[in-house]
């Protein structure tokens, strides 16, 4: 009898606990919705938010680092495609070469090269930060401009060399 009572109480406690978790979850979802509506209606002041944040060299370059990283991960599909084409034989490789040679293919590769050089230069900037260099505001801005100039220089150098190389080969 006592055993029955305790297990009944146990069962009741379990049901109560689970319904409470469910209730809390539903309340959380409702809260999220309400907060979303409040943000949309701008009913309360928010901590610095993308919409009201003035674009700065630091923030834009940080976002660009992530965007070029994502673009390179996507672009790796093209690199894999080229290597697989090379392993698939002369006929398929020739087909891929005509696509690469088309101006749209060239444009994609140009974009890929810009992403490579930006992510490479800014990646070195990140590693220098990890070693403790350029951590002042001036250092962050100075190295930021160096990265932008390096991206332009490396991209220009590469494509001038490509034209020279195609000319001679």
């Amino acid at each position: 009898m006592i055993g029955d009572t305790t297990s009944a109480i146990g069962l009741l406690a379990t049901i109560l606990t689970f319904s409470r978790i469910d209730l809390e979850r539903r309340m959380r979802d409702k809260d999220k919705e309400r907060i979303g509506e409040m943000i949309m209606a701008k009913q309360r002041p928010l901590s610095p938010h993308l919409m009201i944040y003035k674009p700065q060299l630091t923030t834009i370059m940080s976002i660009m680092h992530r965007m070029t990283g994502g673009a390179l991960a996507m672009g790796s599909l093209l690199v894999v495609w080229w290597i697989v084409a090379l392993a698939s034989g002369a006929e398929y490789y020739a087909f891929v070469q005509t696509i690469i040679g088309h101006w749209m293919g060239q444009l994609v590769i140009f974009g890929f090269s810009v992403a490579v050089f930006y992510h490479l230069s800014n990646g070195i900037r990140h590693l220098l930060w990890d070693f403790g260099y350029n951590l002042s505001i001036e250092g962050v801005h100075r190295s930021g401009y160096v990265v932008l100039v390096m991206t332009l220089v490396l991209t220009a150098l590469t494509w001038v060399s490509v034209w020279a190389s195609v000319w001679t080969n």
Binding site: A73, V79, V84, A94, V116, L120, G123, S165, V166, N169
Partner: protein, 128 residues
């Protein structure tokens, strides 16, 4: 850090965290990044100077031991680095836990598949 300690801040936090892997993601991302610097620079120079050839030239280019080795290392370190980066992006932007896990598994499987496909292709050309 105490003044007398010889341990670096990194040395102190290594092996910490709930899975005893506190800084392994951070560290591997930096390690692959440092490896990728010379690999990318070599690959760009080598590719640009070989530009403009046909299939025979391209196969000969990849059969050179140095080009093939750099290509293998570049793809290996590159896909590893990309997977670590993609993981951070997913963890930042996918708030739903189920969808986050799904996205992480999908990206890791896809990256592993692409790495295997490209590494195998390089080897099959280089060793043919």
């Amino acid at each position: 850090m105490e003044k007398t300690s010889m341990r670096s801040p990194l040395g102190k936090v290594r092996g910490l965290g709930s899975a005893r892997k506190g800084v392994s993601h951070w560290w591997l991302q930096r390690l692959t990044a440092m490896g990728l610097i010379p690999l990318v620079i070599y690959m760009v120079i080598s590719l640009v100077s070989a530009m403009g050839g046909d299939y025979i030239n391209a196969v000969a280019w990849l059969q050179s031991p140095i080009n093939a080795t750099v290509m293998l290392l570049l793809l290996g370190a590159g896909f590893f680095h990309a997977t670590l980066g993609a993981q951070v992006i997913i963890e930042d932007y996918v708030s739903n836990e189920n969808r986050r896990l799904l996205a992480l598994v999908a990206v890791k499987l896809a990256m592993t598949g692409l790495a295997a496909l490209s590494l195998f292709s390089v080897l099959s050309v280089a060793l043919s």
